[in-house]
Structure formats: C-alpha cells, structure tokens
Amino acid sequence: MDWSNDGLDPSNFETCVKKYRLEIKHKILFIIALIVGTVVLSSYSTTLGTMDIGFLDTYRIIWEHIIGDIKDTTLDFLVVEYRLPRVCAAIITGVGLSICGCLMQGVLKNPLADPYTTGVSSGAAFGATLVMTTGFLAAITGFATVISAFVFAMVPITVIIMMSKFSNASPTTMIMAGIGVMYVFNAFTTLMMLWADPMNLTNLYRWQVGSIAMVSSWANIPYMAGVVIVGLIIMMVLSKQLNVLASGDESAKSMGINADRLRLVSLVLTGVVSAGVVSFTGLIGFVGLVCPHIVRMFVGSDNKYLIPGSAALGAFVLLVADTIGKSGWIGFTIQTGVVMAFIGGPVFLWLILRRSNQAW
C-alpha cells in the first residue's frame, strides 16, 4: 500500500529490524536453554533411586543398551526399563499439561483456564474412581482405569462444545460450564469414595494426587507420547491463527479466521491431550496453570514462541517435581502431584503479586 509519507529513514528502519530479530533470538535462546536444562536434569534424575548410579554411568549404560553390549543386566534394567521411562513420562506429562494450559488460557481468554478449571481433571478422576471402586471395565482390559478416565475426561469438553453450539456461548460462559460439570463430577466421585472399600481408597487417593511413578514402564509411553506430540504439532500449525484470535473475536473474523470454529477445535485438542496424559498419571495440577504465565514473562504472548516455550518449561518443571519427589531428600518419597502443588502454589501467588494491577 502506498502511503503519503513513504519517506522512511532507512537507518531507523534498520534499527527496528535488528531489534526485532534480536528479540526473536532471545526468545529462541530461552527455549533452547530450557531444553538443555531438561536434558541435563533427565540425566541427573536417572541417577537417583534406591541404588546410586553415577551421572556419566547412566550415559554409559544407555549407550551399552543401544549397541547391545550390556555388561550389567541389573543396572541395565534399572536405568533403561525403570528410570528412563519415568523420566520420559515426566517430560511428556509436563509438555502435555503445559501446552493444554497455554492453549486453554488463550482461546478462553482466561488466565485461570487449565485442565482443572475446564472440568477435564474432574471427569478423569470420576472415570478412574468408577473403575477402582466398582471394577467397571476391569475384567475386560488392563487399561480400564486409563480408558475410563480418558472417556469421562472428554465429557466436560463435550458439554462445553454443545453449549457453545446451541447457545453461542462466550469464552467466560464456557469456563463456567466447565466449572459446573466439575462440581457434578466431584459430587459423584465423593459419593463413590464414601461407599468404596477402604482397601481401594489408598489407590484411589494416590491416583487423585497424581504421580509419574504410575508410568514407570515403556508400555504406556507410546500412547502418551503419541497424543502429546500430535497435539503439539497441531498447536504449532495453529499458532498464527491463535495469535489472530488473541486480538479479539471481531478482529479475528475480519482477518478471515472463523473464531468460533477455531475455539472449538482448540478445546477438543486440549481435551484429548490433557485427558491422554492425566488418565495415565492421575491428576497433577499447576503445571498447566503456572508454566504458560512464566513463559509469557520471557517470550511474550506470541503463540509461535509461547507454545514451544510452555512445552519446554512444563517438561523441566515436572521433571524437577518428580526428581524432588523420588529423591528421598527429606527422608521419604513424595508423589509428583504433591511436590508440584508445593512448588506451583507459591509461584502462582508470586505471579499474582508481580502482576498486581496489570493485565496478564
């Protein structure tokens, strides 16, 4: 387009372009730093457990396993078959929950949106409780808890979508619908827990607190990884459209985006990814809520960097939580969900204080 004052000062424009590129470089460096941190922490986390294995020894054991020259089958089993899947599960879970929180907050325009506030976690909890207390599906498949948790986790998302289809609901109404469904599921879950056999309650409670230890084998990893990787790729493909949606529904429509459809697609996506993760690990809170907010402070709200940044920080933070939980530093091991709540709660309060009167 030709505008009347086209006489731009080239040096000012050059400075602007340089600064823009430098900002992008900083964002990419932040994400790379998190990925490197996660890789280093993964190695350290693999050394921790009932038997101490040296930092470099873990690499040697993994390398020997890859080339098929296993010298110590016990160490090989411990590292490759037990500790490594747990580390992978922590990374995948962190990535999955964090990108879901990031996407939900963006499309629902609400800084509190995450798998908890949209009812996904409550649905999953109900599904798991149903299997653990009544044996529903348990006779048919060993994955009964996972399947039931996944199916019921999708119920709140379905309700939100139906509501938005029939009543043209706003993002706020969608969150409120999620909260409504959450209370209904919580009531049923509590009722079933009251009737449950005390023997089942421990398992049930452990599931509800959430732990990566429940995924300490390779058997579950492909399902979790598949859902999370596909979800992450789709979110990255949608990132430009999500940026347009962030400028408001009216602006988005005028720029050619079907805002309502994009919101629904995003909700289905977050439902599938978060349900695909929590149905294996149980309910782990705060990752989806806190990580995207921290990443926004460093890379801004451009989804092109925010989504991968949230994925990287989610992986790092959950790995930190799981490493602390299993380290036994305080004399006993703690469930990942509990550690995450101890970390996430204060961090969230700090974020609120830091933001005080500003918008997010």
Partner: protein, 264 residues
C-alpha cells in the same frame, strides 16, 4: 473497483426489537464515508454485518456481487478489514507483534522484511514507532487506538471499516487521523468507512455521510453540505444547531445549541 451493496438489510438480537430495519445503501466510489448517528441506532451493527461479524437476519449484502451469506470469513477478509472500537486482548503482546498480526493474510515465507517494512511504515505514520516494544497493556487508550488503526492499515484491504477510530484521541490526532484516512482513500482508490461522533470533523473530511436514526434506519445519505443541516441534526440528535460555512474551505460548520431533551 470494489462495490459493497446492502439490500433491505435487517438485524435483530430479539425479533421484537430490531437493531437495523430495512437498510439499503451502496459503497462504490473510492473515498471516505462517515456514518453518523446517536448512540444505539445500529452504526456498529451495520458495519459488522458487512464483515459478517454479525449475521444479518433479513436482506442481502453483496461484496463485488457475491452474497456474504455464501462467502467464508477468509474470502471477505481479502477485500474488507475491520478495526473495532475497542480491543479485548487478555494477554498483551508488544506493539510491533500486535500490528504484525494485521499481516496474517499477506504473510509469505521469507518475506518477513516486507511485513516489517509495512508495520514500521504504519507505526511511523501514526507516530508510535517509539512504542514498538511496549506491551499493549502499558499503552493509553489513545495509543491503543493508534495501534489498532495501524493493524488495520497493514492489512492493505480494498475496503477499510473503522468503528470510532478517533474516539480516544486528542483533538490534534482526531484531525490528523481523519485527514490521513481521507488521503489513504484517495491515494489508493480505497473505500474507507468510519463511524464518527464528531460532526465538524466529519463535515470537513468526509466525501459522503450516512446519517442513521432510530429505529435502526438510514435517515439520509449525501455530501456533507446535503447531510449536515440544522433540520437533520435536530431530527436525528434532538439538538438545536446553527450551520455556518467554513470561510476557508466552504464546508459546513456546526455550532451546537440547546439540547431539546432539556426543554422536554
């Protein structure tokens, strides 16, 4: 040349209280079109119907002969861009990234520098290049409005629609932005439609004025001389006025009198 035609368009949230009633008008000649009218007469609604942000309940809207009911948002966005009166971003981006969003339909792989050039030009034009890396939640309402306007400009549409683009600006920038819009319309043979509440700025810069009145109807359409009359102002706004001619440019100037509401 782009043509927008509204034919017997009505819109209602509730069938008993129509917001727009049987609106018919055509935008064909390039230039600055201003929509005037009191609050609640459907000015924003009618422009949102053109962009399909609101879907009209009766009648038809044609963009270059194609009915908008059969067009996708993407197709409409290639021709028309809309700058809303307010933005409701929950998470703030930097000003440069916010304006860059406007290039969504134009962006091509490896052409980032051209996008940045357009963005920088728009910032330069609106004197906000010093705010490029400020977050949008650090801006004043007026600065925010300039950013929205810049985002609308970088879309390079054939038809640019603006909902009260000068509402939060100081007098200097109200005049500057309106002058700018008129110049852009002339230079690029574009149709620019803006909603305004300032009768004098509209009278000075608009090529054509659409005056709307209750209950959601077009009261009159024409040049500033034809529309800005004391009779029309009294009928539409309920206010007495005296119209004189600007001795320099010959456009009508409104001297507002008493509100008739006070006399009732």
């Amino acid at each position: 040349m782009t043509k927008i035609e509204l034919s017997h368009v009505s819109f209602a949230y509730n069938p008993e209280e129509p917001v727009l009633k049987d609106i018919s008008m055509t935008f064909e000649e390039p230039g600055l079109y201003c929509i005037l009218g009191p609050n609640g007469v459907g000015k924003s609604t009618v422009v949102k119907c053109i962009c399909k942000i609101n879907e009209h309940t009766e009648g038809d809207i044609f963009i270059d002969g194609q009915n908008t009911k059969e067009l996708r948002y993407k197709d409409i966005a290639k021709v028309v861009s809309f700058v809303p009166a307010t933005s409701n971003e929950m998470f703030s981006m930097s000003v440069i990234d916010t304006i860059m969003i406007g290039r969504y339909n134009k962006r091509k792989w490896g052409q980032e520098e051209e996008d940045l050039r357009q963005v920088y030009k728009a910032m330069n034009l609106l004197h906000i290049e010093n705010l490029a890396y400020h977050k949008s939640n650090q801006l004043s309402a007026g600065q925010h409005q300039k950013v929205s306007l810049a985002r609308g400009l970088v879309q390079e549409p054939k038809v640019l629609i603006l909902d009260e683009p000068t509402a939060n600006l100081d007098v200097k920038y109200q005049v500057y932005v309106t002058e700018l819009l008129r110049a852009i319309a002339k230079q690029n043979q574009m149709i620019i439609i803006m909603i305004s509440h300032d009768l004098n700025i509209t009278a000075k810069y608009a090529d054509r004025i659409i005056m709307m009145a209750r209950p959601g109807v077009v009261y009159t359409v024409g040049t500033p001389e034809e529309v800005i009359t004391s009779e029309n102002i009294e009928h539409v706004y309920g206010i007495k006025s005296t119209i004189i001619k600007d001795p320099n440019v010959g456009v009508p100037v409104v001297i507002l009198g008493e509100s008739l509401m006070d006399n009732e």
